[in-house]
Amino acid sequence: MSVSTEFSKGLIKENPVLRLALGLCPALAVSSSVNNAIGMGVSATFVLIMSNLLVSLIRSWVPTKIRIPVYIVIIATFVTIVEMVMAAYQPALFRSLGIFVPLIVVNCIILGRAEAFASKNGPFMSIVDALGMGTGFTLALVIIASLREVLGNGTWYGITITPGSFEPVLLMMLAPGAFITMGLVLGLLNWMDKRKADALQQEALEKAGFGKTAIAGEGK
């Protein structure tokens, strides 16, 4: 597999949050503002890259029976580093992300990539995979956070973008808004998938010479 396909699969086709339904807790919890979403996305991406790299480097020495505890220790180490750096340099962000910073440890995306990819592939490809998955995670967070912040607060990344007459929907900033936005985004993706699949099927039928008769038959 080429570098670009390994990278881009995490963005859309195998987006960890929107396609694989992994890492849902942080996706819902920190998506009330774009700033938080980016902070969480970057932190998780860092942990993902470092853990994928290390897991890939030691993959031939780790006995399969104890591999999961080993991965967890590696991930927890990098999460601790992120925690300390963020507390020192971004204290406001650290406070607003709250317990979700230490909870990056149990983000299933990270352990999932270590187990499914880094333990079977070389270090370079593992970093590419981590970058793709991390960017996909960040992208999903930013999409959900954008919808919630614009509708719930009238701002995007802290900048007011709606006219003064716009009354913010407070519900979007509260817990229910997160669930509803997530449900609707997932539904929209399913709908787009279905339309694409239908179009492909129609194209294939037309290619095979069935197109006109099929359409005419439906018309009757």
Binding site: A21, L103, P176, G187
Partner: protein, 201 residues
């Protein structure tokens, strides 16, 4: 130690700050295991059990090994909190699984398949971290853990009941499965928002 304080914790963790619907902890099992009522109950019981044990273990580890004021060596090791807690939880889950398998095969039959899933349930690590952040003492930590587990089970069982009925409902195709589960969770969260007006104590 007065009881009204514990009551505040119980009501707070079950209803006002419900772990799933208000704090967003344990969403994966909430969406994944809520298709059938029986498995939802099993998962809920397993989570209550592990959460209580994990809170006890993490409390002892934090105050006797890590925190500089109370530990045996007077050195500040609190930066090891995340690593220590996740290792304790992971090994605890393994240990509990082995013990139950040996001593109570019937219980193992009921809870067995849920136990491995619990290691990566962020609600368990979440309750351990919250107990420390809120500076609860041992009794308060245990009460908070049990209440959080009950809150999780409540949300899970309610959701499973709704989803069993949704099987028969006529839902637009793109919303079937996970999307409708999230929309339902949103409606339930609105209902739970009502509890935030509750004043206790």
């Amino acid at each position: 130690m007065d009881l009204s304080n514990l009551l505040v914790i119980v009501v707070g963790s079950i209803l006002i700050n419900n772990f799933v619907l208000m704090r967003f902890l344990g969403i994966c099992p909430y969406i994944g295991v809520s298709k059938k009522l029986s498995s939802a109950v099993g998962m809920g019981m397993a989570v209550i059990f592990v959460m209580t044990l994990a809170s006890l273990a993490s409390y002892l580890i934090y105050y006797y090994l890590l925190a500089p004021e109370t530990n045996f060596w007077g050195v500040d090791l609190t930066f090891l909190r995340t690593i220590a807690f996740i290792l304790v939880i992971a090994s605890l889950v393994q240990f509990v699984e082995m013990v139950i398998q040996k001593l109570a095969p019937a219980l193992y039959q009921a809870l067995g398949i849920f136990l491995p899933l619990i290691t990566t349930n962020c609600a368990v690590l979440g309750v351990a971290v919250l107990n420390i952040d809120e500076q609860y003492n041992l009794i308060e930590s245990l009460v908070n853990a049990i209440a959080a587990g009950i809150g999780f089970t409540l949300a899970l069982v309610l959701m499973a009941g709704i989803r069993e009925r949704l099987e028969l409902a006529d839902i637009p195709k793109p919303l079937q499965g996970v999307p409708i589960a999230f929309l339902m969770a949103g409606l339930m969260a609105i209902a739970f928002l009502g509890f935030s007006g509750l004043s206790v104590g």
